[in-house]
């Protein structure tokens, strides 16, 4: 089936989710308070087999612009993004539920240096090892579409079954020498099965996904790919500080094969839902270089570098579905370890360790359809450690993020509703240690990427956000939502001065606006 056919088929499926709401069912799109529930549903649908969730289909177009003078080096100065999304839940029968989403995104990123890969350091401190880079900043044009869907079903003998599947396709390219072009194809699925006994549910799951990325780096002026032109010369990062030459820059393939399994338990009654879940995930990323004839294809003998990430995630969720208010609580612990491997040298030089403890809680109080208030707080404690034995780099970082948000329907008329939300996030580095010792020629990657990024990471920041949403009731039980979201990021101290003198301190800004329709 071609990609276009897949999209059409899926959109048809999602669009068929017409109004068949169950009585007293929860409408996940009612307020952002319920977004984690939707994420949970997409992730662990078996925990929702007996929960009444209202059918919905939401179609949205949105526009985002980010201006990021405060940033890590390998992310964009500015990002403009256009998105189209449709998603929905469709309860075919009381025991059979379909759900899914489709999203198309087109983005233009400006001013990305030291990075010719698809990874960005906007949401992660350090890129996964094994990527090409050149110092010169350039603009990227990217587009992706992603399909995600699944079903859950409870058999009469109390056996539960669900399946998830997704497919993503992307293309991105840079518009200045060196010019990488990256095409990616990512697909996978997961099967979950369990058993329900009265209020108790247990389940187990297994999943697999595969992400194939093809990269080719071209030059309009190929002479620029020479060490004498340091700004445009393409090099390869194999770790976090180990910089080497790699002849496969012109063409290579990376395949990430990912397997996971997990299990969980849930207790649920009319008002309360308590669950605990565990998931193990192993990702094996193989970098394929060229053969003796300069050709590139997938063959075990052509693997030059590997990167393995093993992840453990444990999650405890509690949700209270009350008459006057709803309450939620999440405790989550994740632990990731990444290890690289160089086939030629037969060994490993890079290790990443990440630990994250998340606490989230929130309360929403409603009166009829009006949200009187929704209050949420969260805390994330992160422990990072990155070591490159050949870099030579050691970076340790313990951070905490404290978040708080409040939203309220300030206007609630029969056909109009206006919801305002404020959100704050404070980021603080509690502890840090950094060591870089040059053991090869040239420290420019460390001086221009690793050290400035550490300066960014140790600096305290405050993000403030204001979201306004206008809901308009349309005929045939449809709702139009117009939203505007604005956020800023400021730095709160000058800890960066320990690592970098010329740190950009102008505030970041984020603007997002769009329109969506629920039906």
């Amino acid at each position: 089936m071609t990609s276009i056919k897949r999209i059409l088929f899926f959109m048809l499926l999602v669009s068929s989710a017409v109004n068949a709401q169950l009585a007293d069912s929860l409408f996940l799109k009612e307020n952002s308070f319920y977004l984690p529930l939707q994420e949970n549903l997409w992730e662990t649908p078996l925990f929702f087999t007996t929960q009444k969730l209202a059918d919905f289909t939401q179609t949205q177009i949105d526009f985002t612009h980010k201006n990021n003078p405060i940033k890590r080096v390998q992310s964009a100065d500015k990002v403009t993004e256009y998105g189209f999304q449709t998603q929905g839940i469709f309860n075919i029968k009381p025991k059979l539920r379909l759900f899914g989403d489709f999203r198309y995104t087109k983005s233009i990123e400006k001013g990305i240096g030291y990075n010719l890969s698809s990874g960005r350091t906007e949401e992660q401190n350090v890129l996964a090892p094994n990527y090409f880079f050149a110092p010169k900043k350039g603009n990227w044009e990217n587009q992706t579409y992603a399909l995600n869907g699944g079903f859950s079903y409870e058999f009469n003998n109390h056996i539960l079954l669900s399946a998830l599947a997704f497919y993503e396709n992307g293309k991105m390219f840079r518009t200045i020498d060196p010019r990488p072009q990256i095409t990616s194809s990512n697909y996978g699925g997961e099967i979950q099965t369990g058993y329900a006994l009265k209020n108790h549910h247990v389940f187990g799951s297994v999943g697999f996904y595969r992400n194939t990325e093809k990269l080719s780096i071209l030059y309009v002026d190929d002479t620029q790919n020479a060490p004498v032109y340091q700004e445009t010369f393409t090099r390869f990062s194999s770790g976090y500080g180990r910089i080497i030459f790699n002849s496969s820059y012109s063409s290579n393939i990376t395949i990430d094969r990912n397997t996971n399994f997990g299990g969980g338990y849930q207790y649920q009654n009319n008002r309360n839902s308590f669950s605990v879940a565990y998931k193990y995930n192993k990702s094996m990323d193989d970098f394929y270089g060229r053969d003796g004839n300069g050709k590139i294809y997938v063959d075990k003998d052509l693997i030059e570098f590997k990167y393995k990430v093993v992840s453990h995630a444990t999650k405890i969720n509690y949700f209270f579905d009350g008459e006057k208010f709803d309450y939620k609580l999440l405790l989550k612990y994740t632990k990731d370890q990444g290890d690289n491997y160089s086939v030629a040298e037969r060994g490993q030089n890079y290790r990443m360790n990440l630990e994250k403890i998340t606490f989230e809680t929130g309360l929403i109080k409603k009166e009829n359809d009006r949200v009187l208030y929704s209050f949420e707080i969260a805390a994330n404690y992160n422990r990072h450690k990155y070591v490159d034995l050949l870099g030579l780099t050691q970076k340790k970082l313990n951070t905490i993020e404290i978040e708080a948000s409040l939203n309220r329907d300030v206007i609630a008329l029969k056909k109009n509703k206006l919801n305002l939300q404020i959100y704050f996030q404070n980021y603080t580095a509690l502890d840090e240690a950094f060591l870089f010792s040059s053991i090869t020629n040239g420290n420019y990657f460390a001086e221009n990427v690793i050290i400035p990024d550490h300066g960014f990471d140790v600096t305290s920041k405050l993000q403030s956000r204001l979201l306004a949403q206008h809901f308009i009731t349309l005929p045939k039980n449809r709702t139009l939502r117009i939203f505007v979201d604005y956020a800023t990021l400021i730095i709160l101290d000058k800890k960066y001065e320990d690592y970098i003198a010329n740190f950009e301190t102008k505030n970041n800004s984020f603007f997002n606006a769009g329109i969506s329709i629920n039906y």
Partner: protein, 448 residues
């Protein structure tokens, strides 16, 4: 419930049955590495080389390590990064030292020995290598300058201004008549395959109809084209300290020109290119191409005042090389040799070993005995990302040399060693990394 447990067990078992991803737990860090140097077995009984100079160049990072061997001929590098290395070793003995070591007096004031190994893997499991040093053949004629990078594509002359300069480094007149100049052929990447050696170079012993066995790689090099200096034997003398310039096109490239198709070409920045109108010889393939039924290449402009080199080899008859002129690779993926031969026309030619079936467009490369080579230079791609394996053995050239980039007006030019009675003697240790520098091309110029 039992079914569920069984299913879960199967699920977990399935997900644990992944590919073998045991990394072996080896943490990469600096390792010791020993290089054993010995003089070649055949001529010098494999004697250990004391105080030999060893250079390790990491092909992954460009890092170099230099060390002298001890009295036992071992250079013990205590800490080097794991990776792939090009190893170069040299030893120069004065005639007195030579006599002390080998028991007889050489005919020259000094003797240089060279050895090299490409793509040597160094890791926790590979901790030593042995290199055999062979006496470098010091030529009286040397390749002095190779201007292959060309000049700027829009402001200069692109590749039209390429030339090779050959120098008389001796104190006697040498006649250029009959001298052969060959451009060698080899693989352009270090990736290995079933038809390559461990350093990535072609394993010519596997070529179709090859009968030389393993000596196909050790005793010969392979050329895609060969020129010959014309003359009756005493027609083109090269005085001591003088040179001859072999131009792709012997014209003044600083001046506007008209191509063979009548297109006027202007030179925006004459300083970027050179005047080759006074070259001693030029490569002109016009008549040859017409004889093949092809048109004359538009930039192969003949200067009637400059004699043409003879085309000694341009591919096997019926399988002519596709090159339309003496166009050198601007990236630096060529090697060049000069040699003399009485029976060149009898030299065999072969396809490269990647060819398993000959077709109409197959190319044959002429096999040249290393013993006939007077001098040779291995060039290298300017980008460390695109390195190629050596073509020449260490006794001809122990290393390689390159310009900083393509089309940057640079040439590689031999260093001046000394001046004797006004005659410049050029550096000639048969180690191009030591003997040459990169700088702006200048026909008949010198690098002090």
């Amino acid at each position: 419930m039992r079914k569920i447990l069984l299913l879960l067990t199967a699920v977990i078992a399935l997900s644990s049955c992944g590919e073998d991803d045991d990394f072996g737990g080896a943490a990469l860090q600096s390792v010791p590495f020993a290089v054993n140097l010995k003089y070649d077995d055949e001529t010098f009984n494999g004697q250990a080389v004391a105080q030999g100079n060893v250079i390790l160049k990491n092909t992954n990072t460009g890092d170099t390590y230099t060390l002298e061997t001890n009295a036992s001929g071992v250079a013990n590098f205590t800490e080097i990064l794991p990776g792939t290395y090009d190893v170069t070793a040299t030893k120069t003995l004065t005639n007195t030292e030579f006599n002390a070591v080998f028991g007889y007096m050489p005919s020259t004031e000094s003797v240089t020995f060279n050895g090299a190994q490409g793509q040597v893997l160094v890791n926790a499991n590979v901790s030593a290598t042995t290199i055999e040093l062979k006496s470098a053949r010091i030529g009286d004629l040397v390749i002095k300058q190779i201007s292959y990078a060309g000049s700027h594509a829009t402001q200069g002359a692109v590749f039209r201004d390429q030339f090779i300069e050959i120098y008389n480094n001796s104190n006697e007149i040498i006649y250029a008549d009959g001298l052969y100049i060959a451009q060698l052929y080899g693989k352009t990447s270090t990736t290995t395959s079933s038809f390559t050696l461990s350093n990535g170079q072609f394993d010519w012993s596997q070529s179709l109809n090859m009968t030389s066995g393993s000596s196909a790689n050790t005793n010969y090099v392979y050329a895609d084209y060969v020129f010959k200096i014309p003359g009756n034997g005493t027609q083109y003398p090269i005085q001591p300290g003088e040179s001859i310039v072999l131009a792709q096109s012997a014209i003044n490239h600083k001046a506007p020109l008209t191509s063979n198709t009548g297109t006027p070409i202007t030179i925006q920045n004459p300083d970027l290119t050179v005047d080759l109108s006074t070259a001693d010889f030029e490569a002109y393939l016009g008549d040859f191409r017409v004889s093949l039924g092809e048109t004359v290449y538009l930039y192969d402009i003949q200067n009637p005042a400059v004699p043409d080199m003879e085309i000694a080899y341009w591919g096997r008859e019926g399988f002519a090389n596709n090159n339309k002129d003496m166009i050198l690779d601007s990236n630096g993926r060529d090697s060049f040799v000069i040699f003399r031969a009485d029976n060149f026309s009898t030299y065999p030619n072969f396809t490269d070993p990647s060819v398993t079936t000959v077709i109409n467009t197959s190319t044959y490369f002429v096999q040249i005995p290393i013993s006939t080579i007077i001098d040779g230079v291995d060039l290298q791609h300017y980008s460390p990302n695109s390195q190629r394996p050596k073509m020449l053995p260490s006794q001809i050239d122990a290393s390689f040399i390159n310009t900083d980039a393509a089309y940057n007006s640079q040439a590689v030019i031999r260093k001046t060693k000394t001046t004797v009675d006004g005659r410049i003697i050029l550096e000639d240790t048969n180690n191009s990394a030591n003997d040459f520098v990169k700088r702006k091309a200048e026909p008949r110029g010198f690098q002090n």
